[in-house]
Every structure is written in C-alpha cells, then in structure tokens.
Symmetry: D2
C-alpha cells in the first residue's frame, strides 16, 4: 500500500451479499423455509431477503444464473459523499471501478462497484430503501430465527497483504492465527464493533469462504440442525455446531444447495473501544477453530465459492504459497496441541484422520 | 431364557454405578468441579456423589483402585421383598449371587449382588439413606447443573440374547438398531418411563460403554464443553454435543481421567404407556446415532471400560461374532445414507475417513 | 373413603381433556397457531389436538357449544380389564357411571364415564387410535413447541377429602400447601412419575382450574409470551412466566378465548420411587407459588371454568368453607414472608395490593 | 442549548458507575456472589468490579459511605485530546468542572469531572488500566454470567431538555415514549450501536434510576431469579423478568442491599447505521414497558437513588411538572390499552391496582 492513497470511504459495516445459484427454487427453500429469511421482493429469477432485525431492503440477494458464484459483497458507507471517496480511492488503487445509478440493484441507491485488490467484486452504497423491521414480529419468528447479517469471510492467498488492504480502508484486526515463524493463516477485521465484518482466510483465492448471519441465542442455531435432520438434509450441515476459539462465537456451517457456505453465529463480543486487545492464536492450538477441540472437516478448509468480476465472469484463482492451515494442523504432517508444552497427551483421540 | 424362571424382582430404575479409578484426585475434579455432582460423603479412597435432584445417598460411587473398571451397576427394587425375589431369580439363572448386609455399600441397605448372565456385576437394593434434595439449591447449581442419573449402557456380544435377558427382568424395548438381514446392533430398554434405564450396545463384552446423567436443558450440556475448553481439557470431549436420532436426546460424551465414558443427556421422551411404539432404526441410516449426521468417532465404537466380578477381578471379554456397527457404517466397507433410496448424494462430504 | 371399596382401576396418567368453547375459530387460532398443537382431526364443530410427542389420537378435544366449560377429564388405564374395575369402583362410590362404546369420543375405545365424588366429569379408557408421533418433526415445531399434556388442576372445596378420594384411586401426594393450623390449601398428586397428574386447589368447586402442557425448555414458554405480544393479545397472559416453588417447574398461565386457563410448564422432577419425599409448603411462604416472590394475580385464585355433568349440563358449585389462600396471603388481612422469622422485611415492596 | 457551544468530546460509550453503599459486605455478596462480577481490586472500603468480557480495570466501583448514592457515571472518550474538549465544553455550559489526575479513581487515567446540566456527577476519561478479559473463562462463569455494562438510566424532570443536552453531546435517540399531546415520558439514547448508553426517565431528579448489565442469553437472567429464591432474597427482585416493548430486550430489575436498582438485560438490537429508525411508543400502550403486558410495579416508577455532587454531597431534587407516566397509565385515572381502538377489552384483567 502506498501512503499517497486518497482518503478512503467511511465504511459502516458489511451490508449485503449477492449470490448466484443454479436452482432458485431449491435455494428458496433453504433461505426462506429453513433459515426463515423474510422475502422483501421476489421476481422470476431473484430473491431479495432480509433477517428479522434488518430494515434496509435486503441483506442477501439470491439470483438464478448459470454458475454458482458470489456476484458481490456490499458495504454500506456513512454518507452519500463517501461514494465519491470510494470512487477516487479505488481509481488510485488502479482496479476496475464503476459508478452505477440508484436501482441498479433493486432497493439500493447509487453505488460504486469495484474489483478490490484481492480480486473480489465489492460494492459501496449509502442509500437504501427502508422496509419493516420484524424485530418483534414473533408471530413469524420460527425456532431458528435469524437477527441480522454479521460478516463476510474471504479466501485470499496472502493474508498480510489482504490485512494491509483492509487496514487502509479503516478496518481493524480483532484476532488472527499465526505460527511461530510469523506465517499468518487468517485474520478477523471489523468496522462495526463486533469481532468482524470480514474475515481473511488464507488459501487459493479470490474465493468466498462464507457469509454469516447472527442469532440471539444458541438454541436458534441448534434448531436449524434439528430442522435439517427432520427433512433428511443433514448432509447440508458441514461443520458444527460448536464454539469458536477465535471470536468466542457459537457457530454452525451449512451448505446451501449450490454449496455456498452459510455460517450461523452468536455470542461474540464488543470491540468498539480504540484499544480493543488483539488476540493472536497459535495455528497449532487445537482450540483455536473449535474451543471444544472438535476437528475441522477437511472440506471446510478446501472448498469455497467462485467469485465473479463486474461483468459476471468467474475470476481465476491464485494459489496460496504460504503454508496452509490444514497441512500444518491435520494428519501425519501437521500437529495440534490442547495444552501447550504437553504435546504428548494433547492430541484428541480418534478425531484426526 | 427358560419359561420356568421364578418371578423376577420389580426393578424401579437404574440407581447407581460404582467406578474404580486410578487417581482419585483427578477424578474428584472431574466429577465435582466439572460435572458439579454433590459430595454426600468422602473417605480417603472413595467419593459418594449425587446429582441435584437426587435424595438417595448417591447415584455414583468413585473409588480408588489398581485398575480402572466398573465395580457394579445398581438397580433399585420396589420393596424389601424384591430382594428375596432377586436372590431366587438369579440362583435359578445359575449365576454368582450373594446377599450382603446393609452398609456393605455406604448409604445402601441390604442388597443382592450378582454377576448377571451378560457378565456384569449388578446389585439390587431397596433401602437407602435419604439426604437433602438440592432441586432448588440454585445457589450451588453451576451453569452445567446435572439433575439425575439417567441410564447405563453396556457392551455385550449378543444383543438379542441380552434383550431377552432384560425382558425377562421386566424391561421393555423403546428403540433398536437393526439391518435388513435382522442383525441387531443395539437396543434401548426401560423400567422408568424414559427411553432407557439400560442400553445394549453390540460389541466385545462384558464392558461398560457409559453411564449417563440428565440435565434440564441443552445450555447446561454446552457449558460443560465450554468449561473443558477453559481449563484446556477439551480432549476429554469424545463425541458431541449433538442430537441423537435414537431417543431424540441432546447428548455429549465425556471421558473421565481414566477413560470411563460419561454421557450428559436431555430431551428424551415419555415411554410409560403400555403400547409405547418401538422405533427400529436402520443401521445404515446416517441420522440414527446423530440426527445431524455428524460422524461417530471410531473410539466411541471401540473403547469401553473393564468390568469386575464380585470379588473385584477384571472379567474376560467375549468377542462379538455378529457384524459390528462401525464396520458396516464407516469407511470403504461400510455405508450410510441420509435419504433412503438416494445413496448417491447421501454421504456426508468430508466427514468419513 | 370406606375400606370396603373394590379394587380401583390402574390409572396410568392423565390423558386428555375435552373443553367446550363458544367460538371455535377463535379457539382454533389459540390452540393450533399459538400453542402449535397438531390437528389430528377436525369436524365442523370439533378439533382433536395433540402435542408433538404424543401418539394417541388426541390429548385435547375442543368443541363448539353454548357455554364455555370442561366436558371431561380422561385418564388412561393400564388394561382393558381396568374398565370393569372402574365401573365397579364408581358404582360402589354411588356416583353416576356409564359405559360407552368405542368411538363415542372419536379415536378413543370403549370407556367408562363417571361423575367423580368431587363432581367432575371423568372418563377412563384404555384403547385409543395411534397416530404419528411428531417428536422429531422439527420442520413443523415452532419456537414455542409443546411436547405433551402434563396435568389437570381442579378446584374443590375440601382438599383433604379430595386427596383421600384420589389416594383411594392410587394417586400419591408429591407436595402440598398447608398452614400452621393444618388447613390444606392445595395438593399435587401423581400416577406417572412427575410431580402431578392432578392438582387439587381449594376453592368453590367443582370447577376446572387449568390444564397444563409440558415443553422441553423455558425458551419455548417465553416465546409464547413474545408471540402473544406480537399479535396484541398479551392480555391472554394471566400469570407468569415464573418459577413455581411447588414442583420447581417453570410456568406460564394463558387464558384461551373463553377464559379456560392453560398452563405451559417445564422442569419438574422425577417422583417415581416409592419413598419420594413429600414437600409441605407453608401457605405464608411467599415463594411457594412463585419462587421469585412475584405476586399471584387475584384472578388466578378467583376464576375457574364451569364443569358439565355427563349429560352436558353445568354443575352447581359448592363453596369452600375452609380459609382461602388468597385471603390469608394477599392484602391487609393476609401476610406472606420471604424469610421465616423475618417478617418485618419479608414483604415484597410494591407488589401487594 | 446555544449554537455557540464548542465541539463536544467524542464519547465512545458508558464505561463505569461508582455507587456508595452503606454495608460493603452485604453489597459484596450481591455484586460478586450473586451477579458474579469479577473483583479487579479490593480495599477496606471499596470494590472495583468488572463483567466477564470487560478488559478495562472496572465497570463498577462500589464504595462504603454514609449515604447510599450514585457517586458518578463515567463515559469513555475516544482520545486523550477529548479531555480538553470535555473541559471546554462543560465550562461553556457553565457547570462545575474539574480535571483530575490519573489514579484519582484507581485504574483510571486523567479525567474530567463535571456536574452535567441535568445535575448528575459525570466523568470523562480515556486512559484506563487493562486487565484480563474473562470472555472464555468458563471455569468461573456461573449460570448467571454477565458479559458487560450496557447502560445508565437517569431520572430527570424535563425529558426534552435532557434529550437536547445529550444530542448536543452526540447521542442519538433510538426510542421514546410520548402521549398524544406531545408530552415525553422517556427517551433512549446511544453512542455505541445498541439501543442505549443512557435512558432518560421523566420524574423528580436528578436521581439514578438504574444501571444495566448485559448477558448473552435469557437463561442467565432467569438463573439470577432462581438463585435469589434459593437464598431467600426474592424480595430483591423488583420487576420482571420480562420482555421490554421498548428496546425488545429481555430484562430483570434487582435491588441491591441499599436499594440501588440494577437491570440485567439482553436481546436488544443494532442501531449503528446513521438512519436507524426511531420508534415512538404511545404512553398508553400497555406493551411499551412490558411486551407481555405484565404490570410495572409502582416502586419502579417511584424509587430512585440519590446522586452526589463532585464534593460528595447529596443533590437536591427538582420535581417533574409534566404528567407522570405512572399517573397516566395506572389506576383509576390512568389507562392503557393492549389493542389500539379496542380499549374496552384492552385492559389486562387483574393486574392493575
């Protein structure tokens, strides 16, 4: 990052994602019947969805298309003037930038769309249509009620470079995973005062690792598992439920019908003070990814969604050259401990391949 | 079983277990600090423990000894006269039987001790000392409060034979696991109107698979995991938490410091009507052991505790000759489905070795 | 009760109630949309309902009629032969008795209907149609999912007499409320091993105080309150949620559209051992009815549902002549303490009229 | 407010309160044994306490003194330079201001102390000592674990004037309670993106209405009630538990041994976007203060804590001249409805004096 960059836009928070799916009806079941997201608007090929405590037009767009992919991540900025700042900022970064008029995405005002330096399609907007906030519409809240979008998680080969890019945009790190030689495997970064608006996961990228929604309580997350069992779709539970070490959140990873990974998440903590302590986890700490030491399934490390460029074409992926977290923690070549300086007994019996 | 057997004793429920451990202080931390069991009495080498809603002297005895083992399972019978019935019944079964005076086990009245036909050391008693019931002692209930002993689970080679033995003793089957050829892999049997007082798990036996305690809610079970993480003992979490298919219970399996398996369990259902429907699960149904399709770790199938005879000597184990559940469900030779008649997509990605 | 009575029927548990309502559509919303009971069968004027873990045809019948009332309480008996015992037993008690053929109530086999000595219309049956048990149908479980019928609560003038009647029928007392002079205000009695199948509440009777359904967790009870708020029917919340002193159960009392009181209830304890300790509460103990000391609303003491005789006519009510719990505990003439021997500070500030 | 005021300090959030109590040992039980706050430091006459997810030295100081009172509310500001802004701002407001060196309050850096225009003793600080964050110390989290300080609630006669003062300081309104004539009864205002950092309650003031701590889940709040019942101190439960209409939070009001009101609170919502919708409640809406329509106890409206000036002297109270919420909503002269335009049936039976 050069120091000569112009002032970045003031990002409030992660605001919505747009996913391309190959079978809209299958996705509709997943997002509206299972997850219970509210349909703000529906066309023949697109669903505009929001969670119960959201009052902007949508936090998720699900659109029929030829290839399952992430079409964009959108961040909300504080003022209309931040769009000008965004435009200048990304032009200075020499990446594709375009300004689109209000309504280019239904319910969203004028916006700046870029391919960010990490290769992701990202939109910045300020104006959006307001709709009813269903905070107290307990008559339609199911047992697995979801409150709001929480964060995006992106796969990128060079985590320190990605971190520097996001720091330039005003994000701060809450937690990260490193090893004793300084290799960084992942980092969590925020604008709103939660653990993250975006997480950076080291791997071949750009790919979308997951998007995450928040609930109030753990029982709502557990119900989603029970519900999937009841309809004989438990194979859409990829990982969890469990307690993260990083973030302390209670989590669950589901796979939508196209394999897009959706996390459901609760219990993280306030990070809004300027001196919020950064927590660095050792990549070999077996409780970093799951506080209970339950193993991370290999697919969680390996699989991620294709991302599109601004013209809707799938982007090529760059390989990670640093060590991979799965390699250094799973199997014969990797190792993890439960208690530091106690490696001999620290392996979890029976859980590792 | 011959039809000429005398009237069996009227068993009320599973009542207590006695475990031999090799490091009493380590076990004391596990059973009293982590699980929060109340210490009714403590001697130099023995702990007498109960859960918060229990008013008999103990539901668990933990005793220092040379070899980690199950010393006995105890069932409570309805009347003092049932001890005579028990004595006659087991003499007719031609197994070791002895009548012991009150106080042989602290807090327990006169009892009949037998090696049952499955090879387990089992005691029948009626009288027991009453102690304070801590149902509403919320001042000492921790976040992981346990209510009561729920069931025993035994490993035995021939499940149909074991089932016939327990039916002779008045137990009924609530659920079982079979395959299309009639092989029985496990059965759940009850006297009190819950899903079980004893479960029969097919395998090399006699060995103790686990003993289980009940909580009121799932949050209490989840806290035990969080607590183990906090003290860096997450490797004592063997399996779960999860939702069983069989019994519908929310479960967690922990390993005590000697590897004795303890289940924490809630949410099963009432079975007290005489026509309570029996549920038979297909051994290939991937949701039978975990409703969410999460894999059963191999150790859960393989490991179990040694059991002692009435003189305290470890008993030899007889191999199971029927198919083993692990073999027919895990890995290249086994298979499981999430949706019947949909095997191609029914495997859970990334979870099976 | 005379000792010359014949053998009573072997009652398993409370099994179903039949309520007459004056606006079936309003009641249908309450019982199926709010409480989420499953409709087994529906005719123009009657709903047959069950909770998610029940497999008999119904645990609640709601029937359109001219006057809101309880039409009958039904207990299930262990064998068909218990119907003969019931018939003989109630004939010996010299109360109205009639034997009705299978199908008299849809889904229920042959039955014996009586007006019991307390004046309530009571049915005994053994056979009933089996239907799907929705234990794991999490796809239709809402956030306020109800598991099963738990108990009946009856208002009767003379609690000791009512207790003696139910003891004659094989019920046992788990808890009661008395004063220092021996006046009994209420008693809880059971056949199945929970705190009660029937509670006896001292007051003008025979009237139905409430019927109660059980949930697995407290969050399900809290959701019912949230749901009523969302549809602006919070005035149907009569009392609670709270924690009972008696039974330790977490509770909520709702009023159906005709004012029939429905309790939702969880967290009571196992009572199935023959020496289960009886707990006697002092009527002046301010935590007996609510462990948190929250006041009992006057309507809860005053109001109750009319009961019908076997021909469907409302029964006259007999006044209680003993002291009334409301009189001795609320207001200027009554008193309650939080800490025994500490009356001066034991009143709850601001809560008592 | 004049437009000529200097730039106000950038307030991050409410940060700590200092209470004077008359029996420190009694208070210690309440704050550390019941609420489970962590003791950062303890002297003969003062406790410095924090909740489990807090890393600043304390969020509550409890100090022995002659008269129970609020000694100060403290807000954290974003930078050291904000102290200069605070000093100038309050000097321009012509209220008592003093700058105190680091350590004046243990663990807190240099600070500016003022009597704010509403009459409350308020401190602004930036620097504070960091201590261990107990987020994942589940080994010491009890069943009623508290995460962090959430807000202050102040009683003030003129709510619109108080709102204007706090808006001048950069706070925004999330919700308020008004009547059809424009009288404002209460307002909720925030800096951090929750429903509030401070609530303004109309009444005789300056007095402290309460301070509030947040938990993750409702079960933790319910446990505090159970715990108080177990130690026979249920009379310290003043109001609740319940669900607020305003804020949607699940709540409980406790009274500490001196009558200082402490709220425990969870489930409010994100307010961090600049166009967060303001919700105005009608004072006659019976669900505004409790979504379930449960009555507000009179003491909750009437009682509040004395506040001290900067020299530790109790401040005189100014009477509210606008209508009082209790008067217009409770009893014969007030009224509330559950359903607008449906007053006849909208009263909650049996709950209003």
């Amino acid at each position: 990052m050069t120091t000569a960059l112009p002032t970045p836009p003031d990002v409030i928070r992660c605001a919505y994602a747009e996913l391309v799916v190959t079978d809209l009806q299958a996705s509709k079941w997943f997002y509206t019947e299972l997850l219970g997201l509210v349909v703000t608007h529906e066309t023949e090929d697109t669903l505009y969805l929001r969670a119960f405590e959201e009052y902007l037009h949508h936090s998720l767009v699900v659109r029929q298309g030829p290839v399952a992919a992430l079409a964009k991540f959108a961040y909300r900025v504080r003022t209309p003037g931040d769009l000008d700042l965004a435009e200048e900022y990304y032009r200075a970064l020499d990446v594709p930038v375009r300004r689109v008029p209000a309504g280019t995405t239904r319910g969203i005002g004028e916006a700046v769309q870029v391919v960010d330096p990490l290769g992701f399609p990202v939109e910045f907007f300020h104006e959006a249509e307001h709709v009813e906030r269903f905070t107290q519409r307990y008559d339609v809240h199911g047992a697995g009620a979801i409150s709001r979008l929480d964060h995006f998680n992106v796969v990128t080969p060079d985590v320190p470079a990605a971190r520097a890019y996001y720091e330039g945009l005003g994000f701060k790190v809450s937690e990260d995973i490193e090893d004793e030689r300084g290799t960084v495997y992942a980092a969590w970064m925020y604008r709103k005062p939660t653990v993250h608006d975006v997480a950076l996961t080291g791997g071949d990228g750009p790919r979308m690792h997951h998007i995450a929604f928040a609930t109030h309580e753990r029982s709502q997350i557990l119900h989603l598992c029970d519900h999937l069992g009841a309809v004989r779709r438990s194979d859409q539970i990829e990982r969890g439920p469990g307690r993260h070490g990083v973030s302390n959140a209670f989590y669950l990873y589901l796979l939508d019908p196209d394999g897009h990974r959706i996390e459901i998440y609760t219990h993280d903590y306030y990070t809004g003070d300027p001196d919020n302590p950064v927590i660095t986890w050792d990549v070999h700490d077996n409780q970093r990814r799951d506080w209970w030491g339950n193993p991370v399934v290999p697919s969680w490390y390996a699989n991620a969604s294709t991302v599109l460029d601004l013209d809707g074409n799938p982007r090529a992926v760059v390989e990670r050259t640093d060590d991979r977290e799965a390699d250094v923690t799973i199997g014969a070549d990797g190792f993890s401990y439960t208690r530091k300086d106690d490696e001999a007994v620290g392996f979890k019996v029976g859980h590792q391949v």
